[in-house]
């Protein structure tokens, strides 16, 4: 039996406004507990909400970037449930009339293929506070502590259609969302700080089947890696269950990263009835066409447009252009380096090769790269002007990564300058030919067609003797002359 996995994602993105969605309290991360929870956030009696304009601007930017309909009229509703991190006893959110309607985006997969994922809608809502279950209190009373600093922070919840068919597609979609929100500058997209959180609806069905299977909802998956693993393990659990004659139960499940398994959250299974209704403390938000058009005109270049431009303007392959435009900071690094050295293809190769490996190894973002765009450009310039070979350049790169300064300083200090001096190279060639009688004899007796290939041995020996610093083109030229003279 061939199974198909069906995935829809609900992504919560914290908007990087200064103040909260309905109050003037700060949204800064990491403040002491409850120091950023004002009377409104705490749902003190008689307090009232007033929505933040910037949150709407950000949501509209997002909607436009997703090629989605913009809700010219949007309505906040109350979603009623009791939880200690929800001070009002309801979450102010949007349901029937959200700020962003249906849309569609292209996601790019590792095999170079693309696919379109439909957006169901995206809505604005307020975040909840935090329950600290493991807080250690002096009296050891075993109670939970509630910190409401995060309560009221603006979120957009982005709901996709169930269009993804593998964990890899889900991750590609999530990366695309991340890419768009960080390009727009509406969120820092930091999953480790909870600025971006993801719930996945997962079901399985036999390939060819039209009806969707029963889905489970995986809650609060907080990294790209876990999204992939959680979906894979949950899909497999469902397949195993069905193949063993069981049935999938619609429920909320939690992914346990340590055990790499999902488990039922029975405590949340109490039949919820959220009793949504329009929030009577707020009026419908009505946006004009001019307002939306102004935002449209101010939108920055988005990943797909940038990728197309990179391919045409810099002559990059579609794959390279795509890789370099996924993150705004990466794209900006590329353009800065290219502007300095005028070598887009080399910059691309270096960024996707050595630099990517370095960042990966150090587990840092490009913003924290020890080598700046200007420094990388400087290194590339030395390759282009034959000061160093590509091979030596790798050594220089490592030294730069270790903080030994820019390319010129490293080359100077370590004496890595390429030798192009004909006299010095001639001597090295003569020495190698003198010490390689057997190889010379072979060369002489070989067919003419095979000879170029046989030069490799001599080049290798000479490079070795020069510690890699001899200019390969000069070596080739002199070596060929000298060997041919022996024929």
């Amino acid at each position: 039996m061939e199974w198909e996995i069906v995935i829809g994602l609900e992504v919560h993105v914290q908007l990087s406004t200064q103040s909260k969605l309905f109050s003037g309290a700060s949204t800064r991360f990491g403040a002491a507990p409850n120091t950023q929870a004002c009377a409104i956030d705490l749902a003190m009696p008689g307090t009232l909400p007033v929505p933040n304009e910037e949150a709407f601007r950000y949501a509209v930017m997002f909607g436009l970037a997703m090629n989605a309909e913009i809700g010219k009229r949007s309505v906040f509703e109350r979603k009623n449930y009791f939880y200690p991190d929800l001070p009002k006893g309801y979450q102010t959110t949007q349901l029937a009339e959200p700020i962003v309607g249906a849309g569609e985006i292209e996601i790019h997969l590792e095999d170079g293929s693309s696919k379109s994922v439909r957006l169901h809608h995206a809505h604005l809502e307020e975040d909840a506070g935090k329950s600290l279950h493991d807080a250690v209190f002096s009296e050891g009373h075993g109670m939970s502590g509630i910190d409401l600093n995060r309560a009221g922070t603006p979120l957009i919840e982005i709901v996709s259609e169930p269009d993804m068919r593998s964990a890899a597609e889900a991750v590609a979609y999530l990366r695309k969302i991340h890419s768009i929100v960080t390009y727009l500058g509406i969120s820092d997209g930091d999953m480790s700080q909870g600025s971006m959180r993801c719930d996945a609806n997962v079901s399985v069905r036999l390939k060819g089947e039209e009806k969707l299977g029963t889905r489970t909802e995986l809650k609060n998956i907080n990294s790209f890696r876990f999204v992939e693993r959680a979906i894979k393990v949950e899909a497999q659990r469902q397949i195993d269950l069905i193949e063993d004659g069981g049935r999938v139960v619609q429920e909320t499940r939690l992914y346990d990263a340590d055990k790499n398994e999902t488990r039922s959250m029975r405590s949340k299974e109490v039949a919820n009835d959220y009793r949504y209704f329009p929030c009577p403390d707020l009026l419908p938000v009505e946006l004009t066409d001019e307002y939306v058009d102004t935002i449209r005109q101010q939108l920055p270049e988005l990943p797909d447009a940038k990728s197309t431009r990179f391919a045409s303007e810099y002559g990059l392959s579609a794959y390279d252009a795509d890789q370099l435009t996924q993150e705004r900071a990466v794209a900006e690094f590329f353009e800065a380096a290219t502007q300095h050295c005028g070598q887009p293809k080399l910059v691309a190769n270096w960024m996707m090769g050595e630099l990517a490996a370095l960042l990966n190894r150090e587990e840092i973002a490009i913003a924290q790269s020890p080598i700046s765009a200007e420094q990388l450009a400087g290194l590339i310039e030395r390759i282009v002007d034959n000061t160093i070979s590509s091979k030596i350049a790798k050594q220089v790169f490592e030294a730069m990564a270790n903080g030994e300064g820019d390319a010129d300083a490293v080359i100077e200090k370590r004496g890595l300058k390429q030798v192009s001096d004909t006299g010095a190279i001639e001597k090295m060639v003569d020495d190698v030919i003198a010490n390689s009688a057997a190889q010379v004899e072979n060369y002489r007796s070989a067919d003419e067609a095979k000879r170029p290939k046989m030069m490799g041995y001599f080049v290798g020996q000479i490079m070795k003797a020069s510690k890699g610093q001899a200019n390969p083109q000069v070596i080739n030229k002199i070596l060929k002359e000298k060997l041919d003279a022996l024929l």
Partner: protein, 95 residues
């Protein structure tokens, strides 16, 4: 129309209000009376009438994104039935 005890229980659970067994019966009777009153709504045809959530047809004014609130933790925590280390205390929250 009477509201059965099971329904009253479900509503009380949703609304998180403990209702004693003694008041339960009285409550279901009175809730039934209220629902009978509001059932008069069904006598009018409202087809095509847009629901009116607010008395005035106005639209929302938005607030500029500025931090205007200061830390008021101590004043607020002073109102809390139980707090410690700057946190509100509740019986253990189990996820």
């Amino acid at each position: 129309m009477a509201v059965d005890a099971q329904t009253v229980h479900r509503l009380a659970e949703l609304a998180r209000i403990a209702i004693s067994d003694e008041t339960l019966e009285e409550m279901s009777g009175r809730l039934g009376d209220v629902l009978k009153l509001v059932d008069q709504l069904q006598t009018v045809n409202t087809e095509g009438v847009a629901p009116m959530a607010h008395p005035l047809d106005a639209s929302q004014q938005l607030r500029p994104d500025r931090v205007t609130e200061q830390d008021c933790r101590e004043a607020m925590l002073a109102l809390a039935p139980q707090s410690e280390d700057g946190l509100y205390l509740v019986p253990k929250v189990i996820d």
